[in-house]
Symmetry: C2
Subunit: 352 residues, 2 copies
């Protein structure tokens, strides 16, 4: 058994969100369903930036963010069945739930009313949760996912939140072989939606306003790329797509009714980004010409994460990433904020 130190890069003020300092912290109190993980990699998610900049409201301070955590199980509670010391594992954006309610009993634990975020939340023992820009993370078995041997940990880590957030709604939305899938926005989530959509057998059309991403989208496997800076870009796609995953992270930049016009009848525009700003007012009947739906979701369930990892291993999915030492976290969060990332920063452990 190991006694890991819990020490991570924290911000102390959301106005100085690029000022990281090392902080020692206490994990949640030990229980026999818990696992202590030595962190090797942590992806940098837009959620981290929304949180540390105060875009989603004032954060708990000091705060270690990071919820795409990959590492090695070093201490395993006596009630844990599926994971043993030495296993390669990941933790995503959720760290706990009640385990008893209707949501928890139906593989919808991400919607448990008592769900706990991996960082910036009150854990059930009252402590503020701290994330994976750190040496170690403690998590219940339910929120630790095993990584298949064929998948590198630095790819598995960013999929723990970014991958699952797009995989869960695509799976629940019926995306399968031959589905005409749209992906709006080609950032971290968008590129994972393309890679996983292709792995699921869908024909993928990407909508982007950035000409410099067109070639990338095709290399990721998209069959079609639409530049939304061109006039009347939506017209040729009228009623053509079955399902659209929308990853556009600024609501004011979301061409809602143009995108929904591209859906086949009763299709869904599924929004997975969580912008700081509100959706602009619209007339509900503007969606009526094809009976479109708007969907929203929140990460995914463990069964879906496991399914996604098996698929990613089998199909050789590799995240488009830049691996940087964890001490360069400030550069990484700025790169996300400035939309310079291509397409995920992954922090590599460097804390002694």
């Amino acid at each position: 058994m190991s006694d890991l130190k819990f020490r991570g890069y924290a911000i102390k003020d959301e106005k100085n969100w690029t000022q990281f300092e090392l902080l020692d912290f206490e994990p949640m109190a030990w229980r026999d369903d818990l696992i202590d993980i030595e962190v090797q990699y942590c992806g940098v998610c837009s959620s981290d930036v929304h949180t540390i900049t105060g875009g989603w409201g004032k954060p708990e301070l000091p705060l270690v963010s990071g919820h795409e955590v990959g590492g090695i199980a070093r201490k395993v509670g006596s009630a844990v069945k599926s994971i043993k010391v030495g296993d390669r594992v990941v933790v995503g954006a959720q760290i706990d739930s009640c385990g008893k309610c209707r949501a928890c009993s139906t593989q919808n634990e991400q919607y448990c009313p008592e769900q706990v975020d991996t960082y910036n939340a009150k854990s059930h023992d009252g402590k503020v949760t701290q994330g994976g820009y750190s040496t170690a993370i403690r998590a219940p078995e339910q929120f630790v996912f095993s990584v298949p041997d064929a998948l590198p940990l630095e790819d598995a880590a960013p999929m723990a939140c970014g991958g699952l957030t797009v995989y869960s709604p695509m799976k629940r939305g019926g995306v399968t072989k031959g589905t005409k899938l749209g992906v709006a926005g080609l950032g971290g989530l968008g590129h994972l939606a393309v890679l996983l959509g292709v792995a699921m057998g869908a024909e993928v059309t990407v909508f982007t306003h950035q000409e410099d991403k067109v070639a990338d989208a095709k290399k990721m496997g998209a069959t079609d790329v639409v530049l939304t800076t061109e006039k009347d870009w939506a017209k040729p796609y009228f009623q053509k797509l079955d399902f659209i995953v929308c990853t556009i992270d600024v609501s004011s930049a979301l061409p809602l009714t143009d995108l929904t016009s591209c859906l086949w009848i009763n299709g869904t525009l599924h929004i997975v980004a969580m912008p700081d700003d509100e959706l602009a007012p619209f007339q509900t009947q503007s969606l009526a010409a094809n009976g479109a739906k708007l969907g929203v979701s929140h990460i995914g369930a463990k069964v879906e994460a496991e399914e996604m990892y098996r698929l990613a291993a089998e199909k050789g999915v590799r995240v488009w990433k830049e691996v940087v030492p964890m001490k360069d976290v400030a550069k990484a969060v700025q790169g996300v904020k400035n939309n310079e990332v291509r397409y995920r920063y992954v922090l590599k452990q460097d804390i002694n």
Copy 2:
């Protein structure tokens, strides 16, 4: 064969939308798939009021509205197979479509890009369509629905638009025996959603801001009625309902996130009203706590109308209505505008 006169109550100016005058009009040019119907009843739909008041934009003038038309087939084209002279029939809010596209080929003719509204639209021969506040209506077989013997025509007429508009999304949304169904707003559409939802076997919860409608909702078959003027009205219903039909006709009065909080995970708040005003801005993540969806739809398909009429006949569904002579149309549209109707005006033929 009969030669019906086409003569109806028209408005000539949307600023004087209660000034109706009798107008002779020309129906669409004859084709062998058409049926001429002698109008006996016409329901008064909120759409009529949105249109004649200019709420949805400037109407074609002069205009005869009305798209809940019940009557007797008096002339039947040679290509018509399912309807014969003397049959009791209805026409709803759609009068034509292309008949060839993917939508028309998949029982989604209401979403045909060339669909033609029953009034205030250009028919395929170029004429402006005129509705059922009139002596007669001419319609293709595809848009004429047969009425079962057990169902009075004055009940069937208002169901042609109002009933179908709620039945289609409930059917497509999986409403069946035991479904926990919410109905928000108890006007014309809302009361039909309750009556048809109960007929489909659902347990219905009604949300209304009008205390004087509570007893009515229970008489219609609702098991539960929630007064949305009470503090924290949504809390006891957190994640309780499978599907909500929202018939609230003023977007600014729509408590969007309170209603979606009442949905079970991935449930749909389905909006069937088409308010003049826009939905207020909201953060998409406000729907994320239960992964709620927003749905919108437009009337229904003929197969769904026929199914609805069979169900209504079998279960003895009767519309809560006030039958008034057609000459009192001004009083009826004012009653709808002022929310005085309980719960549908049905105009009875009185034009010589």
